[in-house]
Every structure is written in structure tokens, then in C-alpha cells.
Amino acid sequence: MQVEGLRVDIPTPMGMLHAVRGVDLALEAGETLCLVGESGCGKSLSALALMGLLPRAARRSLSRFSFAGEDLQRAGERRMGDLRGNRIAMIFQEPMTSLNPSWSIGNQLEEGWLRHRGGSTALARERALHLLERVGITGATSRLGQYPHQLSGGLRQRVMIAMALMCEPALMIADEPTTALDVTVQAQILHLLKELQREFGMGLILITHDLGIVARVADRVAVMYAGEIVEQGPVARLFSHPSHPYTRGLLDCIPVPGRLAPGERLGTIPGVVSPPIGALHGCQFRNRCSEAEDACATRAFELRELSGGQRLRCRLAAT
């Protein structure tokens, strides 16, 4: 998949909110890209924009969007509907709200298959059973007749994953798939996702705010701030040489067992994100940045190539 110049604008009473501002993404088959950033940085909206699932008021623009050799830049709702849940699948953060409470698990699993592949319900049921077992759900046959409220959070997320896999997608977008889950279940779900990714050769875009997950799961990472990618690169490089002041700040903020002596303070990023509303100038991180200079207020910085495949949007890369 290749995306260039993705923008999402949402009109608000306070002016135009530039939620996503010129994001380029490229993903190869079998690769995992992590989009990382804090709430409101535009990571989820970027994903929804690619799926064609933006809220009605939002406006999307793109200079390029191709998927598996097909140009989707002007693809209509009908074409996107054919791809969604078929070639491109998405799993969401809260499985309780994204599953239909009044449909049985079996019916929800089969729905996508019947919509995209047609054929008999028996065949769809067989596939659903196979996948429920594959994602580690015991007693799959009896689960088919159950409803979402009868399952625990971890099981619901497994059902979501099985549902996403029904049509063997080439790309899976997972938006905070484990945020609502316990740490033990989180490890199990991520383990499963990676295993399935290898098995099906899927591309995976994982959206998260958890740098621990990023480090363990990603091949490449893109750090987003106020609607822009501020730094990206291969995962090992990004963690060993974080270059954007925001990336460095984020890494200092998280407690890591054994890193700090007792009583030592965690790093912080001063201030709060100012929402990207109205006409924007310069770097949006500048008023929280310890490296900011006058130029940061006026100049727009491009993503510049550093060594090791890393790219950085900052005055530090320009000098």
C-alpha cells in the first residue's frame, strides 16, 4: 500500500481542524508499521480515512493512494465497500462497542464472508469455526451461538480478529487493539496477531500510544504529532537514536522497570498539545520543545532523510 499527502480536515465551530496534515505511508506485504502518538494526533483518523470510514463532516484529500497495484485515489463508496472486511480489514480498540450486541458471534463472523464471497452459509460457518479455533478460542462450536456480552474482553478481541481474518485480508489495520485488555491478555493477543501475520503474509498497520508495544511488534515506526509524522524509521534505529525532541520526550516519560533509581523523577513534556485549528505556521511542537528557536515559529519543515532509513521533521535535521 502506498499513500501520499493524506489530509483530513474537519470543520469545527472554532475553525477548520486540520486533523491529518500531509501524511505519507508505505507498507509492504508482511510488514508491520506502527503509528504512534498521543490522543488527538490524528493516528486513528488517518486509519479511518484509508478505510473510507471518516465521520460525515470530515473531508479527505490525497495525492496518491494505491493498494495492491490498484489506484484507489478516486475509488467510490462501492469499491471501498468491496475492499473493506475483504482485502483490507480493521480491528478496533473496544470490542464491546464494535461487535453488534444483538447478533450471535457466528452470524457476525459469517456476514463478511457472505457479503464478499457469497456461497452457502454452511461453508461460511466452516470457515468461522476454523478461524475461531485458530485464534485460540476453545469450544468454538458452542461460541458460534453466543452473544458478545457472554464473552470476556480478551475473547471478544479474539472474535474481532477472527472476523477480520475471514476473507484473508492483505492488509490489517489494528487501532489500539489491546488498550482495553489486561497485560497478560495483551501479550497473548499481540503474540497471536504476529503469528497470524506471518501465516497469512498480511501487512499490518498498528496504531498505539504504547511504546512498549511499538518496540516489540513494529518493523517500522511513524511518530505523529498534531496531524503530522514528525519522525519515522526502522524500529531498532528509532529506539536507539530517537531524534525528534518529541520522540525523545515520549521515551523519557514512560517508566521502564529497572531504568530509574528509586525516587528518581520521570521525564515530562511541558505544556499541552494545541489542536491544529485554523491557519498553522511552523512546527506545532515548538511551544513544548526545549530545542525550539525563532525559525521554528515560521518555517515549515519537511521530513528529511537521516542515516539508517530514519526521517525527521525538525530544524535539527535541517542544520
Binding site: D182, V183, V185, H191, L251, C253, I254, P255, P262, T268
Partner: protein, 322 residues
């Protein structure tokens, strides 16, 4: 450091839950015989998966929920004999979600000052206002927020309001139930630093309920691990993270994803999911998920082993296997 401030003795809490239409009701043993001490000046981390009873325990300590059996003592006096007023003066909560735990129709000043008004402290409005403003300043809330409403604040600022509301009574103990789980990482670190500063400044004792083990490792001095209503292991933080003893603690620690690329996602070998607390497994309740389960684990609940390193409830140790 060793003075016991708050003590739980064999505390049980049972709930009656409906098993379904026409199926009558069943008993859920949310807290199943917990004995635990909170010592002055410490930060006790209480960790465990959702449904293990850790929040129920916190609510009982706040007096929001009665015990079914057993006793909670505050400095040796049974909690049942302490008035709610007195308890609230000494034990205050900070909850997880600052979006739902603050009244949206009240101003920040009114929210922070409410405990004072309720308890009739500082009857004079001017003095009350002064104390609220002092507390707000301490937690890093600018005075201009006094007349603001919660929806005008960011998540981090709201959590500061919650901290100020807890501190305004000058309590001795604060029960923090997932205080940073709803916050972004950059805000989480600010609140964690604030909690640590406030603890030093006001000589506070914390019970920190959290599922985030990295956060617990950072600020707790001692950790208690809870599984299906029981404390299965208790030890000083450094010792617990260096050498966890209970297989469940080991699995929990193994699931922490530290930001180290190249290590991949660990396989916790926990297999089956968390058991239904209404229908707990016989013997040691952890045995269906335990890689080291022995025949005895299916039959008998383990007895606790208390030694210099702490306390662990597992047949591996009680029988001298390890």
C-alpha cells in the same frame, strides 16, 4: 516505616449475582480472605488482572462498601466503629477516569472545596477559599481555573483537580485506583511525579491499585499481587521484580512490554483465559493456567509461606519444592 496504619484481617466480600433468568442467584467471592497491612509512609502497589477484586478492596478501605466478614482496622480501631466523616478525613480516593469522577456542573473551586464544606471544616467562606487555592497551587493548577468547569480542562488538569480534592482534607492515606490509566503517556509522567512530590510533602501513605506494572515498579515500595480475590504474593518492589516467586507473578512480569526492540512479544504460557470468579477452580485457583501445577494443586488450596522475602501462597513453596 513499620507502623501499621491500615490493616485488613481475613477480609471477605461476597456479592450475589444473578446467574440468568430462572436460574436463581449465585455468590461471587470478590475478596476471599485477604490479610494485608498498609504501613505509614509506604506506597503499596496492588496489582492483578481485571476481576481479581482489587477495586473492591479499595472501595472497602474507603468505607464505600462493607465487608462481608473479617475486619478492617485503622490504627488498630475497627473501621466499622469509625464514623464515615472521620474516615473520610483520613482516607481519600483518587479514581481512574477524571472525565467521569468530576461533577461537570460544578466549578473546580467547588469540587476541590466540597470535602471541606461537607465536613464543616473552615466554616468561614474566605478561609475555605484560601485553603482550596493553596491546595490548587500545590498540585500545579493555576488560580484562574478556580471558576472553570471540568470540561474546560485537559485530562491531566482534571486529574490534578482530583489530586487537589483528595489533598484538601490533609488525609494520611490516599487510595489511588488506576490514577493514570486514562491519561496519555506524557501526562501520566506528570501525574506520577506529582503523586510522588505530594507524598513527600504531606507524609502520605498510598495504596496504588494498578494493572500497569511499570508504573507500580516506579512508585511503589511494596507490591501485593492479587488473583481471584486472594493475595498470592507480597514482597518489596525491588525483590518482587528481581525474583518473583509465584508462577502468576512471573507470568505477569513476563507480559510487561518494555520498550526494547528485538525482543518480540513474550509468550506468557498462561493458556486459558481468566476463570469466571463465580465458579472458581478447586484447589489452588491458579492451577488451570499454571505451567508448574502439581496434582496437589488441583485438590488443596496452598497455605501461605511468610519469610524475610515476603509472603507467597503457592504449593511450590509451602511444600519446600523451591
Amino acid at each position: 516505616m513499620s507502623e501499621t496504619l491500615l490493616e485488613l484481617v481475613e477480609v471477605h466480600r461476597r456479592f450475589t449475582v444473578s446467574a440468568g433468568l430462572f436460574r436463581g442467584s449465585r455468590t461471587l467471592h470478590a475478596v476471599n480472605g485477604v490479610s494485608l497491612q498498609l504501613r505509614r509512609g509506604e506506597v503499596l502497589g496492588l496489582v492483578g488482572e481485571s476481576g481479581c477484586g482489587k477495586s473492591t478492596l479499595g472501595r472497602m478501605l474507603l468505607g464505600l462498601l462493607a465487608v462481608s466478614s473479617g475486619e478492617i482496622r485503622l490504627e488498630g480501631r475497627p473501621l466499622a466503629a469509625t464514623s464515615t466523616r472521620d474516615l473520610a478525613r483520613r482516607v481519600q480516593p483518587i479514581f481512574q477516569d477524571p472525565y467521569s469522577s468530576l461533577n461537570p456542573r460544578k466549578t473546580v473551586g467547588a469540587i476541590v472545596g466540597l470535602p471541606l464544606a461537607v465536613h464543616g471544616i473552615e466554616a468561614d467562606a474566605g478561609a475555605q477559599r484560601k485553603r482550596v487555592q493553596e491546595t490548587m497551587e500545590r498540585v500545579g493548577l493555576p488560580a484562574r481555573f478556580f471558576h472553570s468547569y471540568p470540561n474546560q480542562l485537559s485530562g491531566g488538569q482534571r486529574q490534578r483537580v482530583a489530586v487537589a480534592r483528595a489533598l484538601v482534607m490533609r488525609p494520611e492515606i490516599i487510595i489511588c485506583d488506576e490514577p493514570t490509566s486514562a491519561l496519555d503517556v506524557s501526562v501520566q509522567s506528570q501525574i506520577l511525579n506529582l503523586l510522588e512530590d505530594m507524598r513527600r510533602e504531606f507524609d502520605l501513605t498510598y495504596l496504588l491499585i494498578s494493572h500497569n506494572l511499570a508504573v507500580v515498579e516506579h512508585i511503589a515500595t511494596r507490591v501485593a499481587v492479587m488473583y481471584l480475590g486472594r493475595i498470592v504474593e507480597e514482597a518489596d518492589t525491588a525483590a518482587l521484580f528481581r525474583a518473583p516467586r509465584h508462577p502468576y507473578t512471573r507470568a505477569l512480569l513476563a507480559s510487561v512490554l518494555t520498550p526494547e526492540p528485538g525482543l518480540g512479544v513474550p509468550d506468557t504460557h498462561l493458556g486459558v483465559s481468566y476463570p469466571n470468579p463465580v465458579d472458581p477452580p478447586p484447589g489452588c485457583t491458579f492451577h488451570p493456567r499454571c505451567g508448574e501445577a502439581m496434582p496437589v494443586c488441583r485438590e488443596r488450596a496452598p497455605t501461605a509461606l511468610a519469610d524475610a522475602r515476603g509472603r507467597v501462597e503457592c504449593h511450590l513453596y509451602a511444600n519446600g519444592v523451591k
